[in-house]
């Protein structure tokens, strides 16, 4: 019996881990170009609320995700302009984006004529695979029990890993994040690269927010992300800037998120604040473990030029 509780909570860890993964993967792409965007939470809310609105207007989840991702990318564009073109402090600009996105979601979500708080999505997603496969032991609920967005996120992980570490374009973006001056001398446009990847990050966050509201909760509430954006941000560091590690890490964080419910069912009680803090504690522990081994620290540490504005004149 405890087995099935465990299995169920693992399956739902994958579900709740998916928006974390989408947003975290996006932020990872952004950071590989040397831009740090602290505004994930804001972009999730801002993009997500528009994506959610779309889902109340039209039954297509794909359309909702596209709209939510697009709006998230627009929010990221603000950050790109501030951080890349104006070279302002990226911490300040990212934090401003959190406030902007949160305020935007609150405004759109509760304004009278939209009243998203009472709206419901027109449809909800079904698992992709048939009953037979879902009832397979173990792999059934864990691997075959999900809707297509989950599988899309797996595909994106594979695509990101391939893109970053196997292709020329990936080499170029990592060069921009590591050593923009060198990238510049070999003819790679640092500015364009950073804009594009910052917006990819925003799209990931917007899609994550949309999935969270339109599918997982199927409702909009003020501040519905409840810190998931921050967890996604921590995820990038926890995963050592590696997509496949992000997949695992997202589900670990998702499981921690669910741990409260699971423990309740099992009869234990731990304050929810403690559980909410666990992803961050885990990230710090991971950092300590990694930094204890210099070789690993080199391999899994932040891009060298992360959050450092680039200007040709100042070398």
């Amino acid at each position: 019996m405890n087995d099935s509780v465990l299995l169920l909570s693992l399956a739902s860890a994958i579900v709740i881990g998916t928006p974390i993964l989408l947003a975290g993967l996006g932020e990872m792409m952004t950071e590989h170009s040397g831009v740090m965007n602290l505004g994930v939470e804001g972009m999730m809310l801002g993009g997500g609320v528009v994506g959610f609105w779309m889902s109340t207007q039209h039954p297509s989840m794909a359309l909702a995700l596209a709209v939510g991702g697009g709006v998230g990318a627009l929010f990221a564009l603000i950050h790109a302009y501030l951080a890349v073109t104006l070279r302002v402090n990226q911490i300040v600009s990212g934090l401003a984006l959190v406030i902007t996105g949160t305020g935007f979601a609150g405004f759109v979500g509760s304004s009278n004529d939209s009243a998203l708080i009472y709206a419901r999505p027109q449809s909800s997603l079904e698992p992709v695979f048939g009953e037979g496969m879902q009832e397979l032991p173990l792999v059934g609920p864990l691997v075959f029990g999900h809707d297509w967005v989950v599988y899309l996120s797996w595909l994106l992980v594979a695509a990101a890993a391939f893109w970053l570490f196997r292709t020329r374009a990936g080499l170029a973006v990592r060069a921009v994040g590591e050593d923009p001056a060198t990238a510049d001398t070999v003819g790679i446009s640092v500015g364009v690269t950073r804009y594009v990847y910052t917006m990819i990050g925003g799209a990931g966050a917007g899609m994550g927010g949309t999935y969270l509201m339109a599918e997982i909760f199927a409702t909009y509430q003020h501040g519905i992300t409840a810190g998931l954006g921050w967890i996604a941000f921590a995820l990038v560091t926890f995963a050592g800037w590696r997509p496949w590690r992000a997949l695992v890490a997202a589900y670990v964080f998702g499981a921690l998120r669910n741990l409260g419910f699971t423990l309740q069912i099992l009869g234990a009680s731990v304050p929810s604040d403690v559980l909410n803090a666990l992803p961050f504690v885990l990230t710090i522990v991971a950092l300590i473990i990694i930094s204890a081994r210099p070789a690993a620290a080199r391999k899994y540490s932040a891009p060298s030029a992360l959050a450092v504005p680039y200007s040709r004149e100042i070398r």
Binding site: R166, T167, A175, E178, T182, R298
Partner: protein, 549 residues
């Protein structure tokens, strides 16, 4: 020197010999002029390069070697003059374009992404890498090129794991991989150990034998004589001459390199007092962990200026830093008067009367973002009247700044303005003001007039001379020979972290200094390495010197 200056030996690449009327000519630069802010770095310089040769560019720092190379590499666009490659006139707007013409340069600061592997660095920006960067074929090509030219380096290794010499190999590989046939090496041996330099020379010879053309920039005579086929000497942005290396006379080359008339003004001499700063057997590591100072023995007396000459990167910075306590000394001792300060903190050394004018005046001399008032108070704030218990008296700080401003003639100051906006001469005056107002017994001044205009140079030198006359012991490190010969009471020449020679300025001709700076014991001049100036106390601590010899 296996390079045959006649191109008959170079059988490689027939297309090059068919391209132009002059088949053996790889590159020709005609009357290249390039100025920076009105100061010419190259003044109508002619230069030609043949296939299959190693052509050395010899000259002091600031002679215009790097500028000339950067013009050929497409980094700088010349103000006037023509570039011909392979007999064809070209206009090089960017390093990319130069690369397309087969010209590539290895800069002194490597352009490598530290965390990338060797193979990844080679693939970066390479037009022929496919969308999917195939690691295996890339790694195979790297290994193949490496074997051919003796540039062995593991393609899978990350750059940060490699030694400087290996990183340099990667830079060369990167260019070869892009099809470069004219290779420019800007002071390539400056960062290498002697063994690494030898291996680089082997590579250069292999490439030349393969028909490629190499420009080898250096200020080290021995290396130029050892590896090059021809040598061109630049001085003050002008070409002094070119010759076959085999026919070159080392002493003549040295004279060509530094041989301007040095206007030695009548030096005022003062009687040197007792030893104020003594350095014995000092050995210290450089930033890369290689010994940058080896068994240095040095003494500076009261009312004496000891000038340390040498080409940059031969241990000058490390010497200054070790003395003022910014660099740990591995062996040896440093005395301020009678006090052993080898292991004391920088603050303690300051309190004992040590002043420091650092080489990099913006980075280590001043906090550029702070106003001048604050910068001038940086040392004195610890004592009254500037400090009042835990507080700093703003009024005293400003009063002091105003006094120093007048006394040292610092101009253009507006009070809240960041110091970095001042001119170089004024910043240098301000640093001197701060250091000298602490009344030091010993002043270490590194490159005190570098980059300043003539008036400022004169003023700074006068300040140093006055200070010496007032009894201060000054260790002056400078690359400017004129300055060394003008101000010093004793001259010491540093080469590869050792003292190559000690001489009295009256015996120091540019030739002798040039030879010593280029790492040759002066067989052409007076016996420079001996203790030639007993009257000024040049021979330091002969007892400790004996056991190092």
């Amino acid at each position: 020197m296996n390079g045959d200056p006649t191109p008959a030996a170079s059988t490689a690449e027939p297309e090059t010999s068919e391209a132009g009327g002059e088949p053996q000519e790889a590159a020709r630069l005609n009357a290249i002029t390039k100025s920076f802010f009105g100061v010419p770095a190259n003044d109508r310089v002619d230069f030609d390069l043949r296939w299959g040769e190693i052509h050395a560019l010899l000259g002091e720092n600031g002679a215009g070697k790097s500028t000339l190379c950067s013009v050929l590499a497409g980094l700088y666009h010349p103000d006037s003059g023509e570039i011909h490659l392979d007999g064809e006139r070209v206009d090089l707007a960017s390093p990319q374009q130069a690369l397309e013409h087969g010209v590539g340069m290895v800069y002194q600061h490597f352009r490598l992404v530290d965390r990338f592997t060797v193979a990844e660095n080679l693939a970066l920006g390479h037009p022929e890498t496919g969308f999917v960067a195939s690691r295996r074929s890339l790694e195979r090509q790297v290994a193949e090129l490496g074997r051919r030219y003796g540039l062995e380096v593991s393609p899978k290794a990350a750059i940060w794991q490699l030694s400087v010499g290996e990183q340099q190999r990667v830079e060369i590989l990167k260019l070869l991989y892009r099809g470069v046939r004219i290779l420019i090496l800007d002071e390539p041996t400056a960062v290498l150990t002697p063994q690494e330099a030898q291996s680089l020379f082997t590579t250069m010879r292999a490439m030349a034998a393969d028909g490629q053309a190499i420009i080898f920039v250096s200020h080290k005579l021995d290396e130029v004589l050892e590896v090059s086929d021809r040598v061109t000497v630049l001085r003050d942005g002008e070409r002094v001459g070119s010759m076959e290396t085999a026919e070159a006379d080392p002493a003549a080359l040295a004279r060509m390199m530094v041989g301007r008339d040095l206007s030695t003004r009548a030096r005022s001499r003062t009687e040197a007092g007792s030893a104020a700063l003594s350095v014995r057997g000092l050995t210290a590591d450089g930033d890369r962990g290689i010994e940058a100072l080896r068994e240095i023995d040095l003494e500076v007396r009261e009312s004496q200026i000891v000038g340390v000459a040498g080409v940059a990167g031969n241990g000058q910075r490390e010497l200054a830093e070790a003395i003022v306590g910014l660099r740990r000394s591995k062996r040896g001792q440093i005395f301020l008067g009678d006090v052993d300060i080898t292991r004391t903190s920088t603050l303690q050394r300051i309190k004992l009367g040590l002043g420091f004018v650092p080489e990099d005046r913006m980075r280590t001399g001043m906090a550029g973002g702070l106003p001048l008032t604050a910068n001038l108070a940086l040392k004195a704030y610890r004592q009254p009247p500037l400090s009042k218990g835990p507080l700093v008296s703003k009024r005293a700080v400003e009063e002091r700044a105003r006094t120093l401003e007048k006394q040292f003639d610092i101009r253009g100051v507006r009070w809240a303005m960041p110091t970095s906006l001042l001119s170089g001469g004024n910043i240098q005056r301000a640093i001197l003001a701060r250091e000298l107002s602490a009344r030091p017994k010993v002043l270490v001044a590194a490159a005190p007039t570098r980059g300043l205009d003539v008036a400022a140079i004169e003023a700074i030198r006068q300040i140093l001379l006055d200070e010496r006359d007032a009894g201060t012991a000054i260790l002056m490190i400078s690359e400017d020979l004129e300055e060394i010969m003008d101000l010093s009471d004793v001259i010491v020449v540093l080469y590869e972290g050792r003292i190559m020679g000690r001489l009295d300025p009256d015996d120091a001709s540019p030739e002798v200094l040039g030879m010593l700076m280029a790492g040759r014991t002066a067989d052409a001049g007076p016996d420079a390495a001996a203790d030639t100036a007993p009257d000024t106390g040049a021979d330091t601590a002969p007892d400790t010197g004996a056991d190092t010899a």
